[in-house]
Structure formats: structure tokens, C-alpha cells
Symmetry: C2
Subunit: 379 residues, 2 copies
């Protein structure tokens, strides 16, 4: 164990330990996390929808266990490598939301299927269904037909292709058809609620056509898995999904805070995840350099919001791999070396993937350190 890790372990439970962490550090507010988990679990329960949170967001066994304790039926994983990590931690029901395709990955999938109570994987091509069926031993592998919502990422692209894939699966006794997956990634971040509602309603009408055709031949799908933090309330109204794959709600991030997630204005979930950073250079009035850059914050979602440590209106700007610039536009505020800044992350999933651990706080006290169990497990 390196110096820094030993020091942080020794801080657990100490007064004001949050401010003594080495930076940049990924900080998780345990209480805000708990409130977010409770809120989504209650909503799903009220609506009679199963909750299968997406673990690609947090990659954390500790958080997955809390979601299961809140009533989740299982978890989603984006990649097989994540599923292996959660299976090793005894999470027994996992849906892999992206096709598993190469021979080496299919061999691993077949082994995982023999270990778990329930492994489900999506398929979007008859060749892949055939390859999966050939690899599976001991017990049947459960599959969902992945339906493309029109972005050409994954999924069958027409209702007829869905039906043809169902027929292929019917001819493969090693596979068990359970239903469909439909993830509208493009619609999650439409900022205005009504615009997002219209967009998702239109896409849901298309899904209903696919489901109608499948139902005619295969019976009603048992599982219709989809939704996300951006559209969950609208999806609840539309009532098509049997389970929700929501992920970001646990943490929130700046991208979702920029959207009105609920029909009534206000932020639906609290920021529970932060990158805390320190001023390392301050030689110009109104400008300071902090120690969080491309390696501390994923850049795909734009800049983070400063939530503490700077005057109202101050902004963060990426300054390369290791640094960020914070600017107080009137060029007045004078930062001191070592000043702390708290950032709400722009996009939670790939930012979490940069860290080995969550430093879990309650108020200003470090209360635990949780590993990012599946960090880097992209294959």
C-alpha cells in the first residue's frame, strides 16, 4: 500500500477529515446517495416497475448491494468484464446490455452463465444468437432482443428483424427468449421536459409496434427493459417498460442537472458525487490553477460546476492532463495555495472510471473508502 492510501485509511472517522484528503479525490456523499436510492426505489415501487439499476455508472459492489437492499431485482452491466466482477461479489442477477460477440468473450460468458442464478444478455443478430447457443453448456442462457431506437448503435433496426431474430432464437434450445431491451440514449438529455416527453413518446410508439408484432407470434414479452435517469418519469407515465435500467440517478451529474427531469421544476436528484481538488498555483488575481484535469474528470460532458470554494459565477476550464483553471470573471477573488474546490462532475460514468476508490463522506467526515470494483473492466 502506498503512502497516500495508508494516510487516507487512517483518516476514517476523524473530525474534518474530508478536508485533509489528498486531491484530486472522488468524494461520495453517503447521505445524498441514500436519499437518491430511496427516491428512485419508491417511484419504481409505486409504478409497479422492476428496478435493475445500471452498474456501469458506479462500478461499485458496495453501491450495487445498497440498490439490491432497496428492492432492485438485479443489476445491469455494460460489459462482460463488469459482470465478472459483480458475479465474484455474489450479485446473482445480471443483465449485460451490450452484445457479447467475439469467440473469446462468448467462452467467458458461457462460464459466467453456469455460475449465476440469472444471467441475461442482449442479442441483435442471428449469427450472434447461433454463436451463443453453441457455446452455452449446463443451463440455458436468457436473452433479450435488443431493439435499435434509431441511433444505429446496437439493436435490430426493424420490427421484422426483431421477429426474424425471435424465430432464430426459437430454433436454439440453449437460449431462452425473455423479451426486449430498448434504450433511448439520444433522448435522455433533451433539456426541456415537454420536448423530451414528445421525443420519447414518439420513440415509444415505435417500440409498441415492435412489441405488437412479437406478441402476435411469441406472446407478450415478459421483460421490456429500458429507460434511464433522463426519461424515467415519462416512461413511468407511458407504462411500457417492465424494468428500468436507470444509473446516473444515484449520483446525478452536471449533464442531468442541466435538464428538467421531472414535470415540476427543480432538481430531481441531489449531487452525491464530487471531485474535490486543490489550488496549486495562484499568481494572478481572479485566476487559480487546481490539480484536476483530463485524468481526474472525463471530458466528454464538458466542464464541471464549482459547488464550493469559489465566488458565485466562477467557472472551471480544462487545462490539460493534470490541471484546471478556475476563473472569477471580474478577476477579483484571490485564491490561496491549497484552497479546496468542490466540483460536481460533468458526466458521472466515465469520471468514476478514472478512480480506484470512492472516498465516502458524511458531512465533513470521511466515513469509509469503497473500491470502484469494476473500474477499467471495459471488456
Amino acid at each position: 500500500m502506498l503512502d497516500e492510501e495508508r494516510l487516507h485509511r487512517a483518516l476514517i472517522g476523524a473530525p474534518r477529515s474530508r478536508a485533509q484528503l489528498n486531491t484530486p479525490v472522488l468524494v461520495l456523499d453517503r447521505d445524498a446517495l441514500g436519499r437518491n436510492l430511496t427516491k428512485m426505489a419508491e417511484l419504481a415501487r409505486q409504478r409497479g416497475v422492476a428496478l435493475r439499476p445500471h452498474a456501469k455508472t458506479h462500478k461499485s459492489v458496495d453501491i450495487a448491494r445498497r440498490q439490491l437492499a432497496h428492492g432492485a431485482v438485479g443489476i445491469c452491466c455494460a460489459k462482460l468484464g463488469e459482470a465478472e466482477v459483480f458475479a465474484a461479489a455474489n450479485v446473482q442477477s445480471i443483465l449485460i446490455t451490450s452484445p457479447v460477440v467475439t469467440p473469446q468473450a462468448i467462452a467467458r460468458l458461457a462460464r459466467l452463465n453456469a455460475q449465476l442464478e440469472q444471467l441475461i444478455v442482449v442479442v441483435d443478430h442471428p449469427d450472434n444468437a447461433a454463436a451463443l447457443a453453441q457455446a452455452v453448456r449446463s443451463r440455458r442462457l436468457q436473452v433479450l432482443i435488443d431493439v435499435d431506437p434509431g441511433i444505429r448503435r446496437t439493436g435490430v433496426v426493424t420490427p421484422e428483424a426483431a421477429l426474424a431474430l425471435w424465430r432464430e432464437i426459437q430454433g436454439l434450445p440453449a437460449l431462452q427468449y425473455r423479451g426486449v431491451q430498448y434504450y433511448c440514449g439520444l433522448q435522455q438529455h433533451v433539456a426541456a421536459y415537454e420536448e423530451r416527453r414528445a421525443a420519447i413518446a414518439e420513440r415509444t410508439a415505435y417500440l409498441q409496434g415492435v412489441i405488437a408484432l412479437l406478441t402476435e407470434h411469441a406472446g407478450k414479452p415478459e421483460i421490456i427493459s429500458g429507460s434511464g435517469t433522463g426519461t424515467h418519469q415519462i416512461d413511468a407515465e407511458l407504462g411500457v417498460f417492465t424494468e428500468w435500467q436507470v444509473g446516473s440517478y444515484a449520483f446525478m451529474d452536471r449533464q442531468y442537472a442541466d435538464c428538467q427531469l421531472e414535470s415540476t421544476p427543480g432538481q430531481a436528484f441531489e449531487f452525491s458525487l464530487f471531485v474535490e481538488t486543490s489550488v496549486v498555483s495562484a499568481n494572478t488575481s481572479g485566476i487559480a490553477t487546481c490539480d484536476a484535469g483530463f485524468k481526474a474528470l472525463a471530458t466528454d460532458g464538458g466542464a464541471p460546476v464549482i459547488v464550493a470554494g469559489a465566488p458565485e459565477g466562477a467557472t472551471y476550464h480544462f487545462m490539460g492532463d493534470e490541471h484546471g483553471l478556475v476563473v472569477d470573471a471580474p478577476l477579483k477573488h484571490v485564491w490561496q495555495l491549497g484552497d479546496g474546490l468542490r466540483l460536481a462532475v460533468p458526466h458521472c460514468d466515465p469520471t468514476v472510471n478514472l478512480y480506484d476508490a470512492y472516498h465516502v463522506v458524511s458531512g465533513d467526515v470521511l466515513v469509509d473508502i469503497w473500491p470502484v470494483s469494476a473500474r477499467g473492466r471495459s471488456r
Copy 2:
């Protein structure tokens, strides 16, 4: 050890093992790396400049050892946490290129200084110099004055501030002044050689003014550390630096390949670093989805170049955390599930930081697996 890691270890030395790796995977061409290391080492030797490669790029003990074997005088680290990793691997001369400022980090720095033959750290503020001096025990800490090349990231912002900082250091017997650091980050990626030359010549004239003032009072700086892969040939001509902090030359990346690095056209260094990815969905002619997205490629440098597995002119487009879209613009090429694609990375440093290991190849054979030793060590 998880399934995937065990499988990859078993592939070392096997014929055509490169194509059997689970994807997305960070692949390092050992032979191309060797040629890049040799080329830069020879150039530095010819010019009589010390080579102190920046280890923030590769974060690899294996690569640092090869650079030292090629005559490097030591390495640079961007962060203290990286330096701790290299020190634990017995790298004995390290320059930390960013100020170390918080009390908790300064305490770690003082411990590291007691362990290493040579630890050098940059300073850019009298308060920081005083705090360092107070923490240092046993042996003097070597410092360079960091000079801002005009981007307000780190460094003193005027020649007079450099002199004032030198005076402060003179009053602190625990510190040993060794010279200056000057890294022109903004100029590294000016695409045209002559434009870049003019920009760096102008910035070097400023540096010479700072050095003249320091020399008048403090004698000529023993160490003038700076340069980068983008400007090293120009810096060689200008002849001001005593040591080069070049990093990316070991790997090259698309950002540097977009620039004419040498006065004669042609690519100065070879691509030695790749992300290899597989087609996981292919339901539309001319379009396929591969398994490398935001978590497999840093996004700050734009899109990667496809160097194998696609028709000439095909392009990669990020499609979220886990996927990329490859597009053959005439919409003709038909990819098969499992087809491999080889990508040259857009920006090497933050992409390397996403992976636990380099899968080292020679031709189509996996020959070794090297850890990304300091991955995630951002503090």
C-alpha cells in the same frame, strides 16, 4: 485474478495471439516503441542535451527502465503519487513538474526526498517555497523555479517574480536552487513547422530574458528543463534547454501525427500505441459499432484514426461510454460481428490512464503484459 486476465497471460508467446485478445485492449508495439526511444535518445545525445522523459505519458516502470537504459538522466512525473510509484520501483532521479502544495502532500514529498538519490520539485510561489523548506528533514530538497510561458497554468509570471522567488529560496537552507522549468504547452501542437518555430522562438526569447536576470544574481542556472515532443527539434536548434521533458514521442498519437514535427515532412515517430476493438453490432451496410467508447479512449483529443480493419477513409465516431461507430461513407463495406479494428489513439496520456496494462506485441504475437504502474495516481 479474473477470467480475462488469466486468459491473456496464457496467450503470451502463442502464434497470432494478438487477434485473440479480449477487447477493447491497449496494445503496445514493442519494436516501434524501441525505434522511437532510440531515435529521441540519439538526437539528445547529438545535441548534448540531457533526456528526462515525462513518465506522465506512459506511467510505466517497464518503459521508464527502457528510457533510462537509453541514457535518460531520470524521469519527470506530473504528480507526487506517480513519483511514489516510480520511487518504489527504484527509479532514483525524479523531477515533479507541478507544484506540490497542500500540507498532506508536502509531508509525503518530504518523506520521498529522504528516500531518493535525487528528487527535484518545481516551485512558483514564495509561500510554497517556505512551506517546503519547513517540511524537509535530513537532506536538502532540490527545486526549479517554474516559469509561466504565458498561459497562467503554473509558473511565475514575470522575470522579477522569478528573481524574488530565487531570493526567497536563498533564504531557505533546506532548499537547493538548481535552475528553471519552462514548458510551452500551447505551442506543442501548432501543426505547421514554421509557424510552430516562430511561436516557440518568440517564447524562448522571453525565457532568455528571465534567465539573464537570474544569471546576473544567481549565476547561470544549472538546469533549464522543458521542451516537448512537438517542439523538441526546434528547441534543439535554439539551444536553451539543458534537459528535455519529452513524453509522447514514445507512442505518438493522432494529435502529434497531425503536426509536422520535423523540418522535413514525414512522421517523426511511429505509432506504437493502439486501442484494438471489435465489431459488436453490424446491422446496417457501411456502419458498424465497436466496443470502444469514452471508457476506452480519452475524448479530449477528438476521434482516433482507424489504422486497420476498415476501408480507406472510414471514420470513427464516439457513441457513448462503451461504443464507437465506424462509418464507411459510401455505406458499402459490410463488417462482420467480431471483426477487429485497430485505432491509433487521439491523445496518448489520458488514454493510457484508462487501462491497467499494456498488451505488448511484436507483429501479431503477444509477447508480454506490462502494468500501467502509476495509472490513476493523480494526487
